[in-house]
Amino acid sequence: MYKLLLCWRYLKTRWIALASIVSVTLGVATLIVVNSVMDGFTSQMQDRMHGILSDLVVETRGTNGIAQPDWYIDRIRARIGDSVEGVTTVVTLPAMMTFHHNGSSHTQQINLIGIDQKTYASVSDFSKYLIHPDNKAQLDFQLKQTGYAPEREALQPSGWEYRNKVEQLKKERANMQAQYLALQDKIAKESRSPLPPALADQNLKKLDSETNDGASTSTEVANAETGTQTEAERMAAMLAGPSLTTLANPQLGGRVFDPSKEQRTGIVLGIGIGSVRGRDPEGKVKDYFFIRPGDDVSVAFPNAGTPPRAIDEMFTVVDFYESKMSEYDATFAFVPIETLQRARGMIDPASKVGAVTSIQIKLKPGADLSAARNALRDEFPPQESYVQVNSWRDTQGPLLQAVQMETTILNILLFMIIAVAGFGILATFFMIVVEKTRDIGVLKSLGAPGSGIASIFLGYGVLLGSVGSGAGVVCGLLFVWKINEIARILEWFTGREVFDPTVYYFDSIPTIIHPFTIVWVSIGAVLIAIMASVLPSIRAARMHPVEALRYE
């Protein structure tokens, strides 16, 4: 009893000892904060990856694909059918995308993914990451009138609204050009110095046999002037729009494509392809979109022939895909799988079955991922089939491992801090034992055994450790709880953004608190405090009562 009483009194009266455990508190708090932030990041990242990737992927190495996907799907269902929730087929290939911006065209590399929009959303969180609310429900690759994230100013206007506006502007520009050229024409005729015929011929050849609405409007204007197709007319037709949009589509049966009323095959672009995120001069984070839903892009990709040849297809951007994993957002572009299969010649003329490059499988919740993967690997051994079976963890293994490694090393380093705190406790305890020498002598003279004296100081160590780690847990949890507010204060204080949204796609710092982590961190801290108090306790227990009583 006297042990507890004395421990408690020592704790209450020795503030210097409490100072020595501040480092324990800090260490514990830091460990909790770091762990929960790292866990938050990891799990966000895992969620994202898992959301983007399906659980299991059966894929070929080649871009020509699996010719009979149904046969594979049947075998997959036969083998692990109990745990399969959804299956979809996908064609993935590298491609080059060309888009127009500010009057010049740009080409960049993308990963073109042909998806079956009816089933693709069932194997991953794909639809969750689309911008337009209708597409979140069900993607149909149709351009929407409007409603692309109205809260994003930079994205407005989008959809048909934008497309129509662009077309109208083009018409107006063509009109003005036509009027201007007509005027020039007139002046030229009046001054009897027409354009050299050679140049006129050249322009004629460049022109398409078809003209678009804008061109025809200008034609009318021009015809009003001259009655025949003049030089100005042709120039106007040419300037009315980029040749991309005026190309005759063979699928339209040679009909003129009207961009203000029709759309090409839909494409969903990763948001990183169509936009950049930066800061305006005031430091506010701003997105700038150089492609919007409603724009047409052309995509060049290899066909399925040997050797492959590049083929070119026009698409209309119908939505953006924002998974917040910059790696994916900057390269992924989704199109309907039939379009790719047809364009690449992947459809077997006899059976009309399209080849696919991968089969993606979603497992039922709680199904064993590794077991299912191993079963499929066993089902499709590499010597028999040209497919690989990977789980999403295999695909992202190195990244996940790197994060895991980072967490482990941080934990070790931070535990070192607590260990250093342990030495502080050791030194303080030796001081306290020396200071309490006389009291130890008194206790011994009152009949307290050495073990009792030792347990006073051990108990004191336990109490200090518990108080320190308890305070650390409380501080750490408070910090984690208010981490975004704290980050904001730090931002204000240092003038630097702690959590830069141009770097991270999260708007707040993700945190996850695992009770288990808190328990083991506090137990570890208390253990270190106990270990640090063992030596001073032994010293106190071994003190000779007479010498202790004489101690001045």
Binding site: M1, V442, S445, L446, G447, P449
Partner: protein, 278 residues
């Protein structure tokens, strides 16, 4: 294995401080013989003695030299009496008291308490013995500064019992502590810390603490040494009252001849030997 064993036994033999002490033993034996002639030995009191020391020798090691403090002391304190030990400072009075109180062990000789040897008991038994049978008070009171007066008084009772038995007997212990603090006249200051008490009050507290386990013997090491005359006198009076009313045996070390003269028995330590004066 075989070669190690004898070495171990040797080291065991050499372990006590008696080793180097034996070198000077012939001289000491001579002393003892002299002492016998001078009648410095205290006669054994037999059944009447509550605590007895027989031919106790004790020396201290000061760096490399050995300083003999007690050179064969026989001492006994009669049950129900106050025995005073006087002597100059450094004469070994406190050492003798510590030996009687089993805080230290003699190099040779024996200590008996109530007819039982106490000097060769294992540490744990000596701790329990001190706790149950002895009360000790000191010149500098030695109260625990973190505890209140009441907690200081019940400290020995807490030490002697486990948490559970303490809580079982708590009311009895507190009652006993109340009685004692009433008796020493401090019942109004139960929740004061030692630093808020005067010297006399602290010594009274120490007496109450020493008596809380109802010991048979009170060992007092210069109980008035740090007090002014008046407080010292009242402390002494308190001890005399205790002795008279409860028959408590007291062994007191003092260098104050005045106080010593008022005791029932008086011995003087001089040159490591004991002289009976009264």
């Amino acid at each position: 294995m075989n070669s190690i064993k004898p070495a171990k036994m040797n080291s065991k033999v050499n372990k006590p401080v008696t080793g180097p002490y034996r070198v000077v033993r012939p001289e000491l034996e001579l002393d003892t013989i002299e002492g016998a002639f001078e009648q410095t030995r205290m006669p054994s009191l037999g059944e009447k003695a509550i605590v007895e020391a027989r031919d106790v020798k004790k020396s201290y090691r000061r760096s490399k030299t050995i300083v003999p403090v007690l050179k064969g002391v026989d001492f006994s304190a009669e049950r129900g009496k106050i025995t005073a030990i006087v002597g100059q400072s450094g004469s070994g009075k406190s050492t003798l008291l510590h030996l009687l109180g089993t805080l230290d062990r003699p190099d040779s000789g024996e200590i008996q308490f109530d007819g039982q040897r106490t000097d060769n008991l294992p540490a744990r038994k000596r701790d329990a013995f001190r706790n149950k049978q002895l009360g000790m008070i000191f010149q500098f009171y030695h109260l625990l500064p973190e505890l209140t007066l009441l907690e200081n008084v019940i400290a020995p009772a807490m030490i002697g019992q486990s948490i559970f038995s303490y809580f079982r007997n708590r009311s009895a212990i507190l009652k006993r502590a109340k009685e004692l603090t009433d008796m020493v006249g401090l019942s109004h200051r139960l929740h004061h810390k030692p630093c808020e008490l005067s010297g006399g009050e602290m010594q009274r507290t120490a007496i109450a603490r020493a008596l809380v386990t109802s010991p048979k013997l009170l060992l007092a090491d210069e109980p008035t040494g740090n007090l002014d005359q008046e407080s010292g006198h009242s402390i002494l009076q308190l001890m005399r009252d205790l002795n008279r009313d409860t028959g408590l045996t007291i062994v007191m070390v003092t260098h104050d001849e005045n106080i010593a003269q008022q005791c029932d028995a008086l011995v003087r330590l001089k040159g490591g030997k004991l002289e009976a004066l009264k």
